[in-house]
């Protein structure tokens, strides 16, 4: 019994530290929210756009740091403005010139990133680039936690409320537009939520891990299901589990938390890639190549029309 209680006490040990409580809570929130949002990003094929936007936050953060210092609210606002500037600027450029959107985005975010690095030099406070990329999960303050709460609430609320128009738009933009969905609003809103998700998780996990939580859990769920709803909630659940689980492992193994969370997500993604019952690489080898009855029906159908086939070809 002794080893049992020992194990138990060491498992609850992290909960004893208040910095660890805040870290766990923000990990759970960010993991769930980003995992949920990820489904929309992936189905809209905007994984790389999200990547670009994450880098374009930098000049906004630098300007915010110059004006108001390192307060979470100021950074949030600065990053939000900078990323929206790049995202909307690229849309305007693509609409008014022959440049395609991905070219415009790629150009603008590199420019923004470079501008950010220049601006950091002039900031009064020291802004650490590593911090921007990887965050500081153990340094999460109460202010950051409030921002995470607010962002999670806003993001999840909006996505759940507008799930149907979003789904129609993701599936087919033109058809959605024809059936009366305000496609442009939906797209812009989704973009704004992506940026919000990235900025809100900046302090805790940094842009790289935030991006990872946005893409990898949803990608894993995408490999596992044909149901939009299951992908949505499954991705969110997986994001939460990986973020919290990764933090735990990093605590006990004494390795950096960010990479640890990403590695844990990688394990799930790899497993789904190989072993998904429907879309796994291994199971595809075993499964039949087509629906037998249908190929039979088709073959018999053609038999019936056999004499008409050459006839049709002559006519055309």
């Amino acid at each position: 019994m002794n080893w049992c209680s020992h194990l138990l006490s060491s498992l609850v040990e992290p909960f004893g530290y208040s910095f660890m409580q805040r870290a766990l809570l923000s990990c759970a929130l960010i993991g769930f929210t980003n995992g949920f949002l990820g489904t929309f990003i992936i189905l809209r094929r905007q994984a790389l756009l999200a990547d670009a936007l994450s880098h374009s936050l930098l000049p906004g953060l630098a300007v915010a740091a110059m004006i108001v210092g390192l307060s979470p609210g100021g950074l949030l606002l600065g990053g939000l403005i900078a990323a929206l500037f790049v995202a909307l600027g690229a849309q305007v450029m693509a609409r008014n010139s022959r440049l395609k959107e991905e070219t415009a985005v790629a150009s603008l975010y590199i420019i923004a990133f470079a501008l950010g690095i220049v601006l950091i030099r002039f900031a009064k406070v020291k802004v650490d680039l590593t911090h921007f990329l990887f965050g500081n999960i153990l340094g999460v303050g109460n202010g950051d936690l409030w921002i995470a709460y607010g962002a999670a609430f806003l993001t999840l609320g909006t996505l759940v409320l507008f799930q149907r128009p979003l789904l129609l738009t993701l599936f087919d933009v033109t058809v959605a537009q024809a059936s009366g969905v305000r496609v442009r609003w939906v797209e812009t809103g989704l973009l704004a939520l992506t940026v919000l998700g990235l900025v809100a998780s900046l302090q805790a996990v940094g842009v790289l891990l935030s991006l990872g939580l946005l893409i990898i859990p949803a990608a894993t769920a995408y490999l596992l299901t044909d149901s939009f709803n299951r992908m949505l909630w499954g991705g969110a659940f997986l994001g939460m589990v990986c973020a919290v689980g990764g933090l735990f492992i990093s605590f006990f193994a004494n390795i950096p938390s960010g990479p640890c969370i990403v590695m844990l997500m990688a394990v799930f993604l790899g497993a789904a890639y190989l072993f998904s019952p429907r879309y796994g690489v291994l199971f595809k080898l075993i499964r039949g190549h087509h629906y037998h009855e249908e190929s039979l029906e088709r073959w018999e159908g053609h038999q019936g029309h056999d004499h008409q086939v050459p006839d049709k070809e002559f006519k055309q």
Binding site: P165, F171, V175, A178, S179, G180
Partner: protein, 252 residues
Amino acid sequence: MSTPHNDREPMLRIEDLTVSYHRVPAIHHLSLSLGSGHCVGLFGPNGAGKSTLLKSVAGLLKPETGRILIEGISLEKAASLIAYLPQRESVDWDFPVTVRGLVEMGRYHQVGLIGSFSQRDQKAVEEAMELFNLTPLARRQIKELSGGQQQRAFLARAWAQEADLYLLDEPFGGLDRTSATALAAALGTLRERGKLLLVSHHALAEAESLFDTAILLNGEMVACGPTSEALSPQNLECAYGTAIYSGAHDHS
């Protein structure tokens, strides 16, 4: 033409429609009026404005002149009465949605933002799948269907939406013979149920068996009427023949 729905207003009325891309007009001053219960084929050479006309009626393109009325109502207000069927290439067939899920999308307009599906909605979905012989395929992901089944799934979605006007852009392209026959039968069913179908089509060979009415375009309206009359040799000469003089050709 007869209009069983509404005596005063035709199902679709287009008045003096002009649509341009980058200042190059694709349709010039086109006017027409079509009643419900017809399957209308859109014919004409490449660049004649078939897709443009369909997209304009779907509300995807802004007209430069003229207006489009659905049962006397403007396009914006009549959006739920219109079903635009996408071209195969524009659909992401890997999307995580089953046949049933696809047909359910047609009900979103009636159900609203967060309301749940009522019994009536469920019934409409099941009826639509039954009508297009999709019930045994309900749980399949949409990529696991043949080309013809995919077309029928989208028709079922439009049926569940309770649309009155169906817009189809080259639905027969790339279908094998069995699928094409099934699709033609499905279009016939819709016409019998009093729907108006506007279908762009490039092969003239089977026009009369597929469509009761034909519209012949060549940037402007060449002919509109019963298929055999509209596609008369003179009209075809007029629609396809003029194309020879309008392009950049070798005159030697």
